[in-house]
Amino acid sequence: MELTSAIGAISTVEDAEMPKTSGAAIRSPVFEVRELEVHFRTRTGDTMLRAVDKVSFQVHRGETFGIIGESGSGKSTLARALTYLTKPTRGQILQDGIDPLNLGPRELRTHRRRFQLIFQNPDSALNPRRSILSSVVEPLEIVRGQRTVELEGLALQALEKVGLRSEFALRYPHQLSGGQKQRVNIARALVMQPAALVCDEIVSALDVSIRAEVLNLLIGIQAELGLTVVFITHDLSVVSHVSDRIAVMYLGQIVELADAAELRGRPLHPYTRALWSAEPQLSRSVAEGGHHRVTLQGEIPSPVTPPSGCRFRTRCPHAREICVEKMPLLREPAPGHQVACHFDLEYPDLFTDGNARLATQP
C-alpha cells in the first residue's frame, strides 16, 4: 500500500493544526500495545474486574487487524483503550510511536484526532437533533473553533466518499436507514483525516444485505486512503473477510494471533478451533458427511473471578493438571503465529477430522 495515497481527496485544504507524520513515526507501528491492563472496580468496590489483562500486540501501517471474541472477552474495552477513551491501568499503548500520556493537553488534542473510533450502534452514536451535515462538521468545528463554509465543504466531501449524496446532508438521523447512519459515522471519522480507524462491531446491528455494503465501503476506503483499521467483532465470517491478521481474545487475554488465512485454516488454540466449528455454515450441512462440531461446555466465566492457570481450561476438552497450575504464555510455534496453550495441538483437517492429535510440548 502506498503511503502517499494516505492523503486522500478530502485533504484539499491544508490544515496547519493537523499533525504531520514524521519520518520516525512512519516506520513505527500504528499501535504498539505493551502489557496492557485495564481494570475496573466492581460496584461493591472490593474486587477488581480485569477487562484486559496483559495484552501485547502491534498493528502495522495499512493493515486490517481483526480482534474476535465473545461478550466479556474485553474486546470493546481494548477498543476504547486504543483510542484513549479508557485509560490503561498498567502497561502502555504507543500510537505512531508516541505515548499520548507523555503529551501536554494541546499536543494530545491534535494527536488523538488521528485515531478515530466508530461505535456499534449507529443510532446512539448520532445526535437525533442534529442534521447529518452538522454531525459530520462538528468535529472540525471543535478543532477550528467555528463553523465555516469551507468546513461544510470538507464534511460534504466526506459524505460523498461514503456514498451519501449532498441531499442527505440536511436530513436527520431518523430519516436514514441503519446502513446509511453507519456511513455517516464513518464519514465523521474520516473528516479528521485519521491514520487509523478502530471499528467496534460496526456491522453487528445491520441486516446482511446492508452489512455487505458497509463492509465493501470500508474495504474500498481503506485501500484508497491507506488507512490502518482495527476491526473488532464477534462475527467470524466478517472478521475473516476483512482482516489481514486476527487476534482471538478470551477473558481479557489474547489466546491466539496469526495471519487471517492461517488462523482459519490451521488454528492452534482449542478455543479458536471451537469458535470456527461453532459458526453455522451454509455449505457443510449439505455437503456429504457434514462437519464435526466441537461443542464447548458452559459459558465464558466471570472476569471478576477468572479460573487459575489457563483461563480457558474450564471449557477446554484437552485440559489437564498443568492447565490448572500454570498460565500458558503466548509463544510462537510458527513464524507470525502466536498461541497461548501448553500443548501442541494438531488438527490435521479442520473440517473433516474431528479428532485432534494431542501431544505435550517437548
Binding site: 465473545e70 461478550s71 436507514s177 441486516d207 446482511v208 444485505s209 446492508i210 452489512r211 455487505a212 455494503e213 463492509l215 465493501n216 474495504i219 474500498g220 464477534h234 467470524l236 465470517s237 466478517v238 475473516s240 473477510h241 476483512v242 482482516s243 487471517a260 488465512a261 482459519r264 471451537a274 469458535l275 466449528s277 461453532a278 459458526e279 453455522p280 455454515q281 451454509l282 455449505s283 450441512s285 449439505v286 455437503a287 462440531r293 461443542t295 464447548l296 459459558e299 465464558i300
Partner: protein, 336 residues
Amino acid sequence: MLPVDNDSGPSEDSLLVLDGVSVSFIDRQYRRRITTDVRFSIRRGETLGIVGESGCGKTVTAMAIMGLLPAGKSVVEGRIEFEGRNLLDHTQLRQVRGREIGMIFQEPMSALDPVFTIGEQISETIRQHMRVDRRTSRAQAIEALAAVKIADPHKRYDDYPMQLSGGMLQRVMIAQALACRPKLVIADEPTTALDVTVQAQILDLLSRQVESTGAALLLITHDLGVVAETCSRMVTMYAGEVVENGKVETILRKPRHPYTAGLLSCLPRGAMPKSLLPSIPGVVPGFDALPVGCRFGSRCSNFADSCRQHQALIDLDAQHKTRCGLARELDLQGVV
C-alpha cells in the same frame, strides 16, 4: 399453471396451516398492513425456518399464530389452523397455546418474570395445562430442567432469572416451552442474543429435544446458516410476503427467488478475503408505499416489465414455491 397448493391445503400431515394471513396494525384512523397473504404449512415433526431481514414480518407472523398481537390495535385476516382448530378463535387458541404449541422468545431475560424462580415458572406452565398437583408439577419441572442439561436441577429450581447467564436462561425457556410435550415449538430468534459457542449448544439442544419428542419446529431467524443447519424446509419473507418456500437443500443449491439468492450471496464465505461482497442495492419499500407489482422489483437486477403486475406465489413443483414470475427463466446462483 394450475394453482395446486399442496402445502396450504388441508392434508393429513398438516399440523399448522396458515392461509392468506394478513396482519394490520391500527394507529388511530390509519390501518397499516404489515403482512399480506402469508401462506405456508408445517407437517408433523417437520423443521421449518422462516428467514428474512428486520421488518419483513416474520415475528409478526409468529405472534399472530400465538394470538399475542395487541387486541384492538391489530387485525388478523385469513385462516390459521392447528390440527383443524381455528387459532383465530380465542377459546380454541387457549386450549392449544402453551400446551400443544410452545414458544421460545428472543430475549430470555425479558421473557421470564424476574420475581419468580425459574422452577416455579415452569411448574406453573405445567399446572396450568396438565391438571396436576404442585408436587407432580415440581417433579416434572425438575425433569424438564435436567432434560435441557442444567446441572443440579433440584438446586437451580429455586434460582431467580438474574442468577443465570443468557445461555442458561435460554435453556430454561426451552425447558418451559417443551414441558407440556407440545406438538409444535415456535422459536423466534432463539440464539440471536447469544455468543457463537453458546449458540451452537442451544441449537444442538433444541434440535435434539424437538427430535426426541417428535415435535415440529418453526424457527424464525435472520441467519441463513442457522436455518441450513437446523431446518429441512425454509420460507423466505420479504416486505410482509412469503417470496419463496422450499426444501433448504434445494434452495441452497438453486434459489428460485432473486431475493433469496441475494441474501445468500451477501454472506462472506471466506473464499475471497477483501473482495467486494455482492450486496442488494436500495432499501425495503415502506409499508405505506408498497408497489402493486413485485415488492422486490426496485432492488432486483432482473426486473422486467411483467414484474409491474401483481406477483402470485407460484408452484414450481410440489415442494417448491416462489413469488417470482420470471423464476423459470432465471438462472440464480446457489451457494453449494
